[in-house]
Amino acid sequence: MEFGFTEEQLMFRDSVYKFAKKEIVPLVEEADLKSEFSMEVWRKLGEMGILGLPFPEELGGSGASVETCCLAGEALGHAGVDQGHLLALGAHTYLCADTIFKHGSPDQLKKYIPKLAGGEWIGCMGLTEPGAGSDAASITTAAVKKDGKWILNGTKTFITNAPVCNVCVVYATVDKALKHKGITAFIVERGFPGFSTGAPFHKMGVRASTTSEVILDNCEVPEENLLGEVGKGFEYTHETLSWDRSSLLAPFVGALQFAIEVCSKYSQERVQFGRPINAFQAIQHKLADIKIIKEAAKMVVYRVAHDKDSGKPLNHLHTSVAKSVVGDYGIKAASDAVQIFGGYGFIHEYPIERFLRDVKLAQIGGGTSEMQKFIISRILSFM
């Protein structure tokens, strides 16, 4: 065991941090306030090579390991980039583009990955439906083959990036009776007849990422846009889980470090009863708690990355522990951080209230805290 990073990784992390601090952070406060996805932020992420990290160079990426992808996410969160843009990045690169990369045909790879890796196109992933959240195998969006085309009908909801997407990996069932074994993945472009997206939802947090429904109304998908094999879609969603529990959580680890730093500084500047508030143990203890949770979150998230990098099969204990620690402890840390800032922690001009709203999503999105406990308890019942 060893828990350090290589010199090269540390240099990469520093360069991402510095770039983000200078070029991206100044743009995010307004984007969050207005609930607007910033194309400028997106272009800069593309410019930095962040959107294509895990893909090979010949497809416009840089062949980074999962661990390095996590380091990038951590550095962006640490710099103070909002979780909204970082969720947009996560949904795009890891949930959409990587699924195409892993299961696509050579033609599909050539067609989609370079566009997605550079950020020219924006991708999303459509699994969740109004009636199928935690119970994802119960989706009802139907795919029927007709005259050499697939006809898709159904509604996807809570789809990150849907309002701005050019392409969506859609999961639909070819036969509801087959349950999860009927679920099939398709690459659906915005221009396909019958594809539309709903009005963006107004969200509590991650506000600069756009979220809406994806509506498939007799949507015509060319045969060559079937992704992978019929009936394998549910397996593919499981593969994205390891991204979901590593590189999509890493920005929160960075945000915890950001919170530690701004709270440390603020508690030294803020004077009450004639002394800086950091002289009070109640404040010191909160600071320490945020640090403890950050270390815990870092350790559980990078373990999932290590599993994935070493090509191990998905370890559901590891992924569920990672999700639980980041969500359930992260929200406590964020709440402590707001508390240290007092009244200022409650207003938008100070850099911390956004984190509390954002981290709430980590308890819900991509599998609720309850689902994680359900999964863990199922495994325990066989132990």
């Binding site: 440390s264 500047e269 404040i283 010191q284 600071l287 350790m299 620690v325 863990i376």
Partner: protein
Amino acid sequence: MNYDLTPEQLSIKDNFTKFCTKEIEPRAALLDEASHEEVPGLIKENIKKMAGIGYLGIGHEEAYGGTNLDLISQAIAGEAVAAACASTFLSCGASSGLFGMPLRLFGSEEQKKKYLPGIIKGEIIGCFGLTEPEAGSDAASIKTTAVKDGDRWILNGTKTFITNANIADVAIIFAYNDRAKGPGGGVTCFLVEKGAKGFRAGKPFNKMGFRGSPTAELILEDCEVPDSAVLGTVGSGFIHAMMTLEYGRIGMATVCLGIASKCLELANKYSKERVVFGKPINRFQDISFKLADMLIMSDTARLLIYQAAWAKQINHPESAVLASVAKVWASETGKQISDLAVQIHGGYGYMKEYPVERLYRDARLGEIGEGASEIQRILIAKDLLRKHAA
């Protein structure tokens, strides 16, 4: 990063778990309920057993009979011992760790030769005397004094809450030799042997938990030791103490983890056997989610302990903070886990026939011993405030 255990570490885990399950765990309740008269004999026997499979030598150099394993391996072995019997972990740790580690780090060749082989074989038992009735978290306020008198030192003072005090053959005693210099340069460590003039152990304390590991005062009344009893250099005692406690914190975190993993194992097993309303209680989410919480907390504790051990091993600049982080997490979640284990056992969890009753009492020490949670948090916060100045 690499989270994989080496083949050697995997076999350490396996060997210690097998040995402790067979040899130590069946005696845990016996030790817990033994009288003050019975405890010394029973715990010495356990220390001997653990020495027999090399446990007391894993942190020591080969030259003295140790195997010099890395700190992660030590944590792996320690978890297995603690899961079987937390008292055994504590008494072994006080002897080979709290006593043995400063000897390894600061002892002369002669001192190491004199004590370490015996400690490693379980033939000599050591203890660590820092805490005093009025100096716990604030260790710099100890009152014990050492006065040089020709080629000997005269020690006066009282140490308290000393694990192994009444079974130890030798103790490390911290005393002020020059109060004016303060803790930074005025404290010295002494090796004081049982039988030294003016040195005795008090009556064992009657504790809530860890009842199989005896604890008592050490009383020094014009206690005489030769100059050769000085450990390390005169005046460096406080620094020696703080360096030792960093290992001690990882050790205390490890014993909490061992208790927690045993609680999870027992509660999980019980939840599958106990039937209410026609089904095993693990089919109810209010039980199964408690089990999941126990796993989340203990699994994370293990990672934080491994991280702290790794950091200490490579002298990472943050090693002290990471040891505090691991200790707070492991001790506080350990307490919660033991509480949940009792709750899952219901009425049976409250009875001595079920081991979770003992584990619950044992777990409570974690937040107090080796630096209370409050002190750990302050150490962590002070480090952050230094690093991130306004």
